[in-house]
């Protein structure tokens, strides 16, 4: 069976792109004159209308006491509660007999940022941070040790509204 090609004659008005193009350009020019919504990241990190939520759960931060030491007492609750098993903790005792973490490491790649570590911490030491931008050149750098966790300065997450802890 031979193939038959039928060329259908349509009116010029229907197949011209000119009408559609002009319609599109009109839309473009209308938006040029309107208020801009794009945030100029990375020059601009937050706007009046938008910023990170105070309940954002990002990479961790260890809070320190007045002497600059980590508040952590190595109780072992955060490695216990951690669903991703990403916290390594070895407890020790300092020269005055205070319990403190000899090793405290968080593997941020394994972390699922659930915030349980912050919630369970009896000393309010470990926190998830209101923070993004974690790029590194090496994978190893994503295992944050105690020194690095203490050196973070970003704000920490408010897991719940203090005035309404049950969210009612």
């Amino acid at each position: 069976m031979a193939i038959r090609v039928v060329v259908v004659k349509r009116p010029e008005r229907e197949i011209s792109y000119l009408r559609a193009a002009l319609k599109g350009m009109a839309m473009t020019f209308r938006h040029l004159l309107q208020k801009k919504f794009t945030m100029q990241y990375p020059e601009q990190r937050s706007t009046d209308d938008w910023s990170l939520s105070p309940r954002w759960r990002g990479t961790h931060r260890m809070l320190t006491d007045e002497q600059g030491r980590a508040k952590c007492v190595a109780c072992g609750l955060c490695p216990q509660i951690c669903p991703a098993n990403c916290i390594k903790l070895v407890p020790g005792e300092d020269e005055v007999g205070h319990r403190y973490p000899l090793i405290y490491e968080i593997d941020e790649f394994r972390c699922v940022f659930c915030g349980y570590c912050q919630e369970v911490c009896p000393e309010e030491a470990i926190h998830v941070g209101v923070h993004y931008e974690n790029a590194e050149y090496e994978r190893e750098r994503f295992v944050y040790d105690l020194e690095r966790l203490c050196a973070q300065t970003h704000p920490v997450s408010t897991l719940w509204d203090p005035s309404d802890p049950k969210g009612e």
Binding site: V73, A74, C75, G76, Q80, G92, P122
Partner: protein, 529 residues
């Protein structure tokens, strides 16, 4: 039991019949009701100082302490069903918490603390004291030995004092001062270095007496507990191995009324170190061209069988009295057909270290758990004579013996050395086959203690690399020699042993349970205490 007078009473609606003289607390335990208590401990004399075990007895105007009140006929006791008793216990807990620091996150006892448990169970949710109320503070004190005293956490139950006075028989602890200033004092010129003093750490219901060795090592909730038998001496105390992430972190006593009651000695507590040793053989080795090279099990076992088949005459077995009864028996079976000299040696310490208050409980001088087992199976304590025999023997098999002090030319005469061991001493490098075995924490097995009690121990962690239990290796070897089937478990190995050896007649892992049975009593059903 039959001639003893018995009384029937009701505890929380549960009717129970107990021998006359049983305390309400013990009777309640049998009825399945735990009356909270601190100062009471079944292994110590009753003091009745903590007032925690208050119960309501119908017809008695005031609440009574369950630990010191004997059960009487027709009594109706209310523990959890009595609001009055609950209220009293809540009051006791509130008093205890006035000065008890809320430092559970840094306390080693957290997770196995009776104060923590009972407060969560029935204590007040909030304190009525102002948050600025200053708590009593005393610095941490080193009691000597392995014991650290944290006076702030002490609830003055006096279990430690009573243990040292009445069980250990060494009066070094007391309650010093009075009222809310009271604390546990130690003799000014002495230390808590009694060889059984470590028990005070287990006895302490709170985190006041701590083991320096275990301090900060693990949290209670991370530990797995495996029933085992202490390898420290021939007493055979029942223990639990507490493991975390494939290492044994501590050894604690497991109650057995027939052997160690509730206690174990400090020497035994240190045996966990040997279980975690890192210098282990991880693969079977065979001699190839003058050197030992790693091989797989099939190849190595075939080589060992070939050596045994190819030789005849005399065989010498040098065994460790720390090897399991199953392995010792199977080794004899493997060497069946040879003229056998089977010997062990045992490390002996000077004298025994008895626990004064418990008859027949002592840290024995022979520091190996299975001396009696080896003797029952026909091994003799004649190591030197066996070494002499090894010079001419066709085959020498070493089982778990470290060969300390043995030089290679003592074993050279034979040329056919088969070494089953955990570590590889230099002497054993002349072996034709080296078979790595697991240690007591890594296998199932049984020991026979000095009183002839056969007791099982269970596997607590995995062995290193390709190491296998000695009973498995020897049963495979027997199969290779065509004299048996490979065995699947230590229980099967024990069944074969029980069928062949008269002393173990009628025993099985099932009948041994976890408390053990005396040899010769295999058929008699053991009443577990």
């Amino acid at each position: 039991m039959a001639d003893q007078e018995r009384v029937t009473l009701a505890i929380d609606g549960m009717e129970i019949t107990v021998p006359k003289g049983t305390t309400i607390l013990e009777a309640a335990k049998q009825a399945g009701v735990l009356i909270p208590h601190y100062c009471y401990h079944p292994g110590l004399p009753v003091a009745g100082v903590c007032r925690m075990c208050l119960v309501e007895i119908e017809g008695v105007p005031k609440l009574q302490i369950g630990c010191a009140t004997p059960a009487a006929e027709g009594q109706t006791v209310r523990v959890n069903e009595s609001e009055q008793a609950k209220h009293a216990r809540q009051g006791v807990l509130e008093f205890l918490l006035i000065n008890h620091p809320l430092d559970c996150p840094i306390c080693d006892q957290a997770g196995e603390c009776e104060l923590q448990n009972y407060v969560f169970q029935e204590g007040r949710a909030r304190t009525r004291y102002s948050p600025t109320y200053p708590k009593r503070f005393n610095p941490v004190e080193d009691f000597g030995g392995d014991v650290l005293y944290v006076p702030n956490r002490c609830i003055l139950c006096t279990r430690c004092v009573r243990f040292m006075d009445h069980v250990a028989g060494e009066h070094v602890l007391n309650v010093s001062e009075r009222g809310d200033r009271a604390y546990i004092g130690i003799h000014p010129q002495r230390q808590l270095d009694h060889p059984w003093a470590g028990n005070v750490v287990d006895l302490c219901p709170v985190g006041s007496l701590l083991s320096k060795d275990f301090l900060h090592k693990a949290r209670a909730w991370e530990l797995d507990h495996t029933p085992s038998v202490c390898t420290g001496c021939s007493q055979g105390c029942n223990v639990n191995l507490d493991t975390r992430a494939h290492s044994v972190v501590r050894v604690r006593p497991r109650p057995n009324a027939e052997v160690n009651k509730y206690f174990m000695c400090d020497h035994g507590r240190q045996t966990y170190r040997a279980m975690n040793r890192g210098d282990r053989i991880e693969a079977p080795l065979v001699a190839e061209g003058g050197a030992l090279v790693a091989a797989d099990w099939d190849h190595t076992l075939a080589r060992a069988a070939q050596i045994l088949k190819g030789s005849s005459g005399t065989a010498v077995a040098l065994v460790s009295p720390s090897a399991s009864t199953e392995a010792l028996y199977l080794l004899k079976a493997v060497l069946d057909g040879f003229t056998m000299t089977a010997a062990f040696r045992v490390e002996r310490a000077d004298g025994e270290q008895p626990l004064a208050g418990i008859a027949g409980l002592s840290l024995r001088s022979e520091r190996a758990p299975n001396v009696a087992g080896a003797t029952l199976l026909g091994y003799e304590e004649s190591f030197d004579r066996a070494l002499e025999a090894a010079r001419q023997a066709a085959v020498v098999v070493v089982l778990d013996e470290d060969l300390d002090g043995v030089t290679s030319d003592m074993l050279k005469g034979s040329g056919n050395l088969i070494y089953l061991g955990r570590a590889l001493p230099d002497v054993a490098r002349s072996a034709r086959v080296v078979l790595p075995v697991t240690n007591v924490a890594e296998e199932d097995g049984s020991f026979v203690n000095r009183d002839g009690r056969v007791q099982r121990y269970l596997q607590a962690k995995s062995g290193p690399g390709m190491a296998r239990p000695a009973w498995w290796i020897l049963s495979e070897l027997l199969a290779e020699l065509g004299r048996g089937e490979p065995l699947g478990s230590a229980a099967e190995a024990f069944e074969i042993l029980a069928a062949k050896e008269r002393a173990f007649d009628g025993m099985s892992y099932g009948s041994l349970g976890l408390k053990g049975v005396r040899v010769g009593n295999g058929t008699a059903a053991e009443v577990t205490a």
